[in-house]
Subunit: 302 residues, 2 copies
């Protein structure tokens, strides 16, 4: 069992979906990731919030034994994102981004975080991802996420991060944008040629495609969900389940470990989308995850 360090956003999200609306609900990549990963392994979170951040939201993480000593509470307001899903539930339309305290986020790791063996750099500016990585002592396994904004505005820094990580988890559109490829399959090979040993292409309702240098593609669908309430956080939940499972093994992951980890992440994400904010995720027990995994195995087996 290894510890996981995650750096990312801690946010309040206002979200409109065909099922309704959530106003200033708990969100942010580091929250989804931590809650997901903590089902499997100890998590240490790095992030920044404003004075308006509610104590209960920190207590939620603590109740999952997540180490929050790397969270800074600073003067100002918490990062606030407003988005909507209209028709295509695989892609959010951003209505408003108020960076607030996140704008001047300068991650400094507490001393005891620096020997974390598993490190996940969630979607933040690539220069900050590099800064976090430079504070880590010889991690065993490093992963990252990114987004279209960084691909267009900080490509050189992003390329530097790509050379330093073991696995990249991004969505299909981002993989195509990063490589200029015409589809996710072509993109996967091209991303791996940029440095990482492995890439997970997140395909929303269609599941995932893992590509590894040594064994090529591993592709499976998502667990079928009839009623998607709010897809926000599905990708970060995937990454959290993926990393949590790998850290629970404690070893340097094999390709087979990565394949199993994808299924863990994918099934866990199917719970997140069944409710607004982190509500679907926080209710998942290991037992519920096992039950759904058994159902999933029937869905993908002749």
């Amino acid at each position: 069992m290894s510890e996981i360090l995650v750096v990312g956003s801690l946010a309040y999200d206002s979200i409109q979906t065909p099922s309704g609306r959530a106003e200033r609900a708990l969100g942010g990549s580091a929250n989804y990731f931590s809650l997901a990963a903590s089902l499997f392994a100890p998590v240490r979170v790095v992030g920044v919030v404003g004075e308006d951040y509610e104590t209960k939201n920190i207590e939620l993480l603590k109740s999952r034994k997540i180490d929050t000593s790397g969270m800074s509470i600073v003067k100002g307001k918490t990062f606030h994102w407003e988005g909507a899903y209209e028709g295509d539930m695989n892609e959010a339309i951003t209505k408003k981004t108020e960076l607030n305290v996140f704008e001047h986020f300068d991650p400094t790791l507490p001393e005891h975080y620096r020997d974390s063996e598993f490190v996940f750099l969630a979607n933040i500016s690539p220069d900050l991802q590099l800064k976090v990585l430079s504070q880590c002592k010889n991690p065993k396994f490093v992963g990252m996420d990114t987004m279209n904004f960084w691909i267009s505005s900080k490509l050189n820094d992003l390329k530097a991060v790509l050379k330093k990580v073991d696995v990249v988890l991004i969505n299909e559109g981002e993989a195509m944008m990063l490589t200029g490829a015409a589809n996710g399959i072509e993109a996967a090979k091209k991303v791996v040629a940029m440095g990482p040993k492995a890439l997970v292409v997140k395909r929303g309702e269609y599941g995932f495609a893992l590509y590894t240098q040594d064994q090529g593609f591993f592709i499976l669908p998502a667990f079928p969900i009839e009623k998607v309430i709010d897809p926000t956080g599905a990708g970060d939940t995937f990454a959290g389940g993926f990393f949590g499972y790998l850290a629970s093994l404690g070893r340097v992951p094999t390709t087979q470990d990565l394949r199993t980890a994808c299924i863990r992440g994918s099934i866990l994400a199917s719970f997140t989308i069944q409710d607004f904010s982190v509500n679907g995720l926080t209710q998942v027990s290991i037992g519920a995850l096992e039950t759904r995994t058994a159902q999933y195995n029937k869905v993908i087996t002749v």
Copy 2:
């Protein structure tokens, strides 16, 4: 081993894709279906062409032991479709539809076709689908396709066909349009509630979702293809491989047979999209299909 009857279009397609252009190349659902199905079982085709239809295109079917005695050659021009793929390779943009002789297509089955045990009603007007079905004597297994045009213009006839078939094979957008569902998963259940025992939702590059009354969902991805040249005919190839495999078994299909048939159809379709027109499909041997199926099994297995 049972005989398969297929009724559908025999056409010339002019297609623009990012890889290039094909001018008046062989197309039409009945051609793709017949060529695919004939790898596994004997096929009888019903359709109409104009005087401009080239003899070599009929000879191609005959060389695969496809019975073409139900093809009519009538005064006028063959159905011509012009389409383009721009960006999204999962959906064609129709530039021109010249129905020509297809406009007055009135399918009459040769006497020896009427006892066909497997019947596939490709994408033609639902009233013609009903007319073909009424000429069949007690078929063992009936399938159908349709399209957005019939869903909006002939919904009542379409609903009547849905009640008479065992399996529907349509793409995800069509399934959603037909049911008003927000995603393919919700749509699948709703289509099956309209009559058929099973539905195959074709998901383009993301594979397929089979839904059966008795065993629920069976979902798998498509075989990963790095360079898609022309997706035209992929869905009809899927249906042909699916039906061909089932007819080769000869029995009334079990749900497990349907699951295996989906993999057959899906793998076969992956060859069609690697070249323009039927060129990718006609080159596939059973050996090549087996080889790719073995590769596919590695892609979907941990």
